[in-house]
C-alpha cells in the first residue's frame, strides 16, 4: 500500500486518524499473545460510515483489514500477520441507548466492558459475561472472541447476552443481525455466527445486549485443599449437585504463590484453593446454596473455609484472581508468563485429572505450568512460564502445548473456552475441528470472498504456531543470568 493509499485513507478519516510512523506500527503489531507482525497503517474510525468507507477502499484492492479493540487477546487474534490495515475501534465508544423497559442496551463496539457496567449500575442492572480483562476489553472484542468470565457459570458467555448487532461486511455493506427482542426464530442466527468470528467475517459496529438485575445478595467463600485432586473432586461434586452457583474458581499452588508475591494478599500456601459464590434476591436462598458448596468442599477435605457477604472483602479476596495473569510473571526470576495452552474447557468430571496432567506435562517438558480458571463453567486455564530468552524453551513449550491439547481432546474437552483461536491455538483447533474446517472455509468465503478480513487466522493459520509470525519475545542467550 503506497503513499496514494495512505492519502486516500487520510481523505476518508482525516489526517489525525491515520498513523504510519514505525513507532505506531510497532505498538499495533502485538497484543497479549506471543505473536508479532507489523501492519502497514493504523486507522481510527469514528462512525459506521467511516468503517464502511475503509472497507470499500480495502476490498477491491485486496488489502487485509484487522479489527482491533483493546488488543488484550491472548492468541494473536488482533496481530496483523499478513500486514494491511489495523482498524482501532476504541474511539467508537458511545453507549447509544439504555432501554430499561425492554431490558437491552445498545453500544458501539469500542465501549469498554467496565464502563458499560458502571453506566448500568445506576439502574441496578448489569451485563454479566465480564472477562477478567473487563477494565480494558471492548464489547466488540468480547463478541468476536465469545469472551466469558467468572460468573458465566450462571449467566453464560457473551453469546448468551447478545440480542443483535450491526455488522459492516467486507465490501462495505451494512447488515442488521438478530433482533431487540429476547427471543427470535427468524431464520439463520447469523448474529451467533459473528460470535467468536475473531474479525474474520465482518466488523461489528454496534451491539444490542441484554442485561439482568444486580442480585441483592452475594456471598463468596474460599476453601483450602492440601491436594489439587481433592479440589478437582469438589468441583465435580458441586457442579453435579444442582446448585445454582454464580462462581467457582480454582487456583493451584503456582497461582497462589504468584499472587502472594505480586500482591501480598496472604493467600494460604496450600496445593489449591476454591473460590465460590452464590447470589440472589433472597438471602435465605443464597445461604442454602453456599452451605451446600461448603459441604461439598468439606467432603473432599476442604478446610479453613471463610465466607463473606461484604462487598469490600469479596473484592479483596478476588482481586488476586483478577490480576493473576500478570502476577504469574513474578513467579520466578527471568521467567515470563506466556499465553500458551491457556484456556481449555474440560468436562467437570475430568477437572482433577486435568489439573494433575498439566503439572505432569510441564515437568516432562522443563517448563512451569499452572492450573486455575473458571472451573464452574468447565474452563481450565494454564499458562506456560519459561525463560523466553532461550531457544530451547520454545521447543519445550511447543511440545508441552501439543501434549496438553492431545490430552484435552482425548477426554472430550475443547481447545478454547473463551480466549479464542487466533494463531497460537490454530494447530490444535484444526485437529479438533477437522471435519468442519471446509464448511468454515465456505462460510468465510461467503462473507469475505477476497479474504481481506483478518486473514491467516483460525482455519487459515499456519500449522506451526512458533514460526507462524515473529515471536514478540527476543531470543537472547548471550548475557543471560
Amino acid at each position: 500500500m503506497g503513499l496514494v493509499g495512505i492519502e486516500r485513507l487520510k481523505g476518508i478519516l482525516g489526517d489525525e486518524n491515520v498513523k504510519t510512523d514505525l513507532a505506531d506500527l510497532y505498538v499495533y503489531g502485538s497484543d497479549a499473545s506471543v505473536h508479532e507482525a507489523l501492519p502497514w497503517v493504523v486507522v481510527r474510525p469514528h462512525t459506521i460510515e467511516d468503517v464502511q468507507n475503509i472497507m470499500r477502499y480495502a476490498n477491491p484492492r485486496l488489502i487485509p483489514v484487522v479489527a482491533r479493540g483493546a488488543g488484550s487477546g491472548m492468541s494473536g487474534q488482533a496481530v496483523p500477520s499478513k500486514g494491511g490495515i489495523v482498524m482501532d475501534l476504541k474511539r467508537m465508544n458511545k453507549i447509544l441507548e439504555i432501554n430499561l423497559e425492554d431490558t437491552y442496551v445498545r453500544v458501539e463496539p469500542g465501549v469498554v466492558d467496565d464502563d458499560l457496567n458502571r453506566a448500568l449500575k445506576s439502574h441496578n442492572v448489569f451485563y454479566p459475561p465480564t472477562p477478567a480483562s473487563s477494565r480494558i476489553a471492548t464489547i466488540g472484542g468480547e463478541i468476536a472472541n465469545n469472551a466469558s468470565g467468572v460468573r458465566s457459570v450462571k449467566y453464560g458467555a457473551v453469546r448468551d447476552s447478545i440480542l443483535g448487532m450491526k455488522v459492516v461486511m467486507a465490501n462495505g455493506d451494512l447488515i442488521n443481525l438478530g433482533a431487540k427482542t429476547r427471543v427470535e426464530a427468524t431464520g439463520y442466527q447469523l448474529d451467533r455466527l459473528m460470535v467468536g468470528s475473531e474479525g474474520t467475517l465482518g466488523i461489528i459496529v454496534e451491539a444490542t445486549l441484554k442485561f439482568v438485575p444486580i442480585p441483592k445478595y452475594r456471598c463468596m467463600g474460599i476453601a483450602k485443599f492440601n491436594k489439587l485432586e481433592d479440589a478437582g473432586n469438589a468441583i465435580s461434586e458441586i457442579m453435579s449437585s444442582g446448585i445454582n452457583l454464580s462462581m467457582l474458581e480454582l487456583m493451584d499452588n503456582v497461582a497462589i504463590k504468584a499472587v502472594n508475591q505480586a500482591q501480598n494478599l496472604g493467600l494460604p500456601d496450600v496445593e489449591a484453593i476454591l473460590m465460590f459464590e452464590a447470589d440472589g434476591m433472597v438471602k435465605e436462598g443464597v445461604d442454602i446454596e453456599v452451605k451446600k458448596m461448603m459441604e461439598s468442599c468439606k467432603k473432599h477435605k476442604g478446610f479453613g473455609i471463610e465466607l463473606s457477604y461484604d462487598a469490600k472483602e469479596r473484592t479483596r479476596i478476588f482481586s488476586g484472581r483478577k490480576k493473576l495473569f500478570p502476577a504469574l510473571s513474578q513467579f520466578k526470576e527471568y521467567y515470563s508468563c506466556t499465553s500458551l495452552a491457556d484456556d481449555m474447557a474440560v468436562p467437570y468430571s475430568k477437572m482433577a485429572e486435568t489439573a494433575q496432567k498439566i503439572h505432569e506435562i510441564a515437568k516432562r517438558n522443563n517448563v512451569i505450568m499452572t492450573a486455575y480458571g473458571h472451573c464452574g463453567s468447565g474452563c481450565m486455564h494454564t499458562k506456560i512460564l519459561m525463560d523466553t530468552r532461550k531457544k530451547s524453551q520454545w521447543e519445550d513449550a511447543k511440545r508441552a502445548v501439543f501434549e496438553i491439547y492431545e490430552y484435552v481432546r482425548s477426554i472430550g474437552g475443547t481447545t478454547s473456552a473463551e480466549h479464542g483461536i487466533g494463531i497460537s491455538k490454530a494447530p490444535a483447533f484444526k485437529r479438533e475441528k477437522s471435519d468442519s474446517l471446509n464448511l468454515m472455509r465456505a462460510v468465510k468465503k461467503a462473507f469475505d470472498p477476497n479474504n481481506i478480513l483478518n486473514p491467516g487466522k483460525l482455519m487459515d493459520a499456519p500449522d506451526d504456531w512458533v514460526t507462524a509470525t515473529s515471536l514478540r519475545y527476543r531470543l537472547d542467550e548471550k548475557d543471560m543470568k
Binding site: 514505525l22 513507532a23 497479549a32 505480586a262 510473571s329 515470563s336 519475545y473
Partner: protein
C-alpha cells in the same frame, strides 16, 4: 545512540505480558486514545529500541516525555514492571542522545520571566534552577514531572505547561467553565 540506562531494565521489560492493564487510567491515553501513547505501547517501543530494531526518532522521544508521572500504571501492573522508573531512565538516555523534546514538560517564556525564582522554590522535584551567570531559569527535562506547580505559582505568567493535554491552566479553566455551564 546508546540506551545505557534502558539496558539495565532489560529483564524487567521481558516480564511485561502486554496485558494492557496499565493503560486503564493513563491520562495521556485518555487524551489521545492511541495505543502508542499508552504505557504498554511505550514499553513495546522501548523493547524494540533495546533490541536495536528501530532507530530512535524525535517522534518516539517525544512520546516518552508525554507522561504525568501519576504512577497509575505502576499501581495497575501485577507483573511489577516499574513503568515510571523505566521511563525516567530512558528520558535521561534520550537527553544524553541530544534529543530536543517537548512532551508534557513545563517551559519558560524568557520575555515574561522576571527571574524571581519562585518556581525554583515551589518545584518539589528540584527540576528548576536559577542560573545566576546566565541569569535565566534552567529546566531539567528529566526531573520535571509536569505537575504544573510552577505554572500556578509564577506571578509573571512565564512558567507554563505544554498545551494539548487538558492540564494547562488555560485548559483547566476552560473545562471548569464548561462544567459550570459557561462557554
Amino acid at each position: 545512540m546508546e540506551f545505557k540506562r534502558l539496558k539495565e531494565w532489560k529483564d524487567k521489560l521481558h516480564v511485561c505480558i502486554r496485558c494492557g492493564y496499565c493503560y486503564e487510567h493513563c491520562h495521556i491515553f485518555k487524551i489521545t486514545n492511541w495505543e502508542s501513547d499508552t504505557p504498554r505501547g511505550k514499553l513495546i517501543l522501548l523493547y524494540a529500541l533495546l533490541h536495536e530494531e528501530i532507530e530512535p526518532t524525535d517522534y518516539m522521544a517525544n512520546k516518552i516525555f508525554e507522561c504525568f508521572n501519576c504512577g497509575r500504571c505502576d499501581a495497575s501492573c501485577s507483573a511489577k514492571v516499574p513503568v515510571t522508573d523505566i521511563f525516567t531512565d530512558v528520558r535521561a538516555d534520550f537527553i544524553d542522545g541530544g534529543f530536543d523534546v517537548k512532551g508534557t514538560l513545563s517551559h519558560i517564556n524568557e520575555d515574561l520571566c522576571s527571574k524571581c525564582g519562585i518556581c525554583v522554590s515551589i518545584c518539589k522535584y528540584e527540576a528548576r534552577t536559577l542560573d545566576k551567570e546566565q541569569n535565566k531559569i534552567i529546566i531539567d527535562k528529566v526531573k520535571c514531572r509536569s505537575c504544573g506547580g510552577c505554572e500556578a505559582a509564577c506571578p509573571s505568567g512565564a512558567a507554563y505547561i505544554e498545551e494539548g493535554y487538558m492540564v494547562s491552566e488555560k485548559e483547566l479553566l476552560e473545562q471548569v467553565q464548561c462544567y459550570l455551564g459557561g462557554k
